[in-house]
Symmetry: C2
Subunit: 236 residues, 2 copies
């Protein structure tokens, strides 16, 4: 199981201005800070499992997480990349159903857990918090619908380029200004794009040959951003 340690204060959390709690009322933040439990998960560890019942929401203090569906034939589909300040597990909680996705740490991560009753309770009382929750849900829904359209209409090549840009937007670049600051396996990239691993590998090689990117193990350096954007063929 994950190691848990003394709770860091929510009031000094580095994500307090960007997370869902940025507009929550002070007294509610106090309650959350009191009740939450913060744990460290190692790379590869599962935070929650598809099919399990939720007992609260998770708020990422520091780390990178993937949320994925396990498809019929067992193939994984990554549906979201989670970063510092993001919460996860809220969908299941709000609709009072089981998790539809599995959360797995992409690297060692420290994650706070907020018990269900408290979270729902505060959500009822705090209009700012619940409005922020709706804003997040709307934005996720918008992204999901766009992804549906692209999956249905765009070829793998364009989707791969788009995925590289998406990873960059989500986790940013390393100090060199080019390297994606997350290490994903080719299979994970394929499961993000929605294609076969071999196709992802092949296209990454092509991108490299065309000078758009540079590959070094799991490091991916974006060399020609303009060309990647062009390849992604975004219109909206």
């Amino acid at each position: 199981m994950a190691t848990s340690f003394h709770n860091p204060s929510c009031h000094h959390c580095k994500d307090r201005f960007s997370s869902i709690f940025c507009k929550a009322e002070q007294c509610n933040l106090d309650q959350i800070a009191e009740a939450k439990v913060c744990s460290v998960y190692r790379k590869g560890q599962v935070i929650f499992h598809e099919g399990a019942y939720p007992f609260g929401v998770y708020c990422v203090n520091d780390g990178k997480i993937k949320l994925s569906h396990s498809g019929d034939d067992g193939r994984e589909q990554i549906i979201r990349l989670v970063r510092d300040g993001d919460i996860m597990g809220y969908k299941a909680l709000l609709s009072n159903e089981r998790y539809t996705a599995t959360a797995t740490a992409l690297e060692d991560s420290s994650i706070c857990f907020i018990p269900k009753d408290l979270f729902l309770n505060i959500l009822q009382k705090d209009a700012s918090l619940s409005f922020e929750m709706m804003r997040i849900l709307s934005s996720e829904l918008r992204k999901a619908e766009l992804k549906i359209t692209h999956l249905a209409q765009k070829p793998v090549r364009e989707r791969l380029a788009e995925t590289l840009l998406f990873i960059k937007e989500t986790y940013g670049l390393e100090a060199d200004g080019h390297t994606l600051s997350v290490r994903l396996s080719r299979e994970e990239i394929a499961n993000l794009v929605g294609t076969a691993t071999e196709s992802a590998i092949r296209l990454l090689s092509e991108f490299k040959k065309d000078g758009m990117i540079e590959l070094e193990g799991k490091k991916i350096r974006l060399l020609d951003l303009a060309e990647i954007i062009r390849t992604a063929n975004l219109q909206e």
Copy 2:
């Protein structure tokens, strides 16, 4: 433009127990009933356009609506089918951005319009309403993520069978217990499945040959539901 007529009362609306407003407080319902404008849209008419700014939410009193993205090359992707009691246009409103989808009437429909300020205002005050809003958003998000996984992993044949079941779940059957009670063009079905029109037509013909369905113009009769479910290959 759509014909508008004297507002029907929200308190006697046939959808008042199933819509988002089912748990709203009485006084807020009064305000909405007061301010809303109900209009009739003819089949094919657009209720709102992708790219436009929202001025309120729409609540379907009676009718059938499709919400669709217009993809890069102009091909349409249908992302939602809307029925009596559903609301639409809330995503854009909540995130204060422009519509990302176009709403088009699939048949003559009467639709109520609730002004933005009032809706947002009541959402702030009425915890039950905002909780219901979150529940709806969660459920839509869940469906969208499932659709992403299926688009990425399931062949067209399975997705078409699934789409037929989805249409049945959404709009139900006619009195005969077999005919889908909505008329969609083959192209619309294809745009729901996420495939080429010809592929949808071809597979529908196969389904017919296999005795799963019966086709008569735009009427689709589901004859062998068990076999359709088997073909859809649902696991979750």
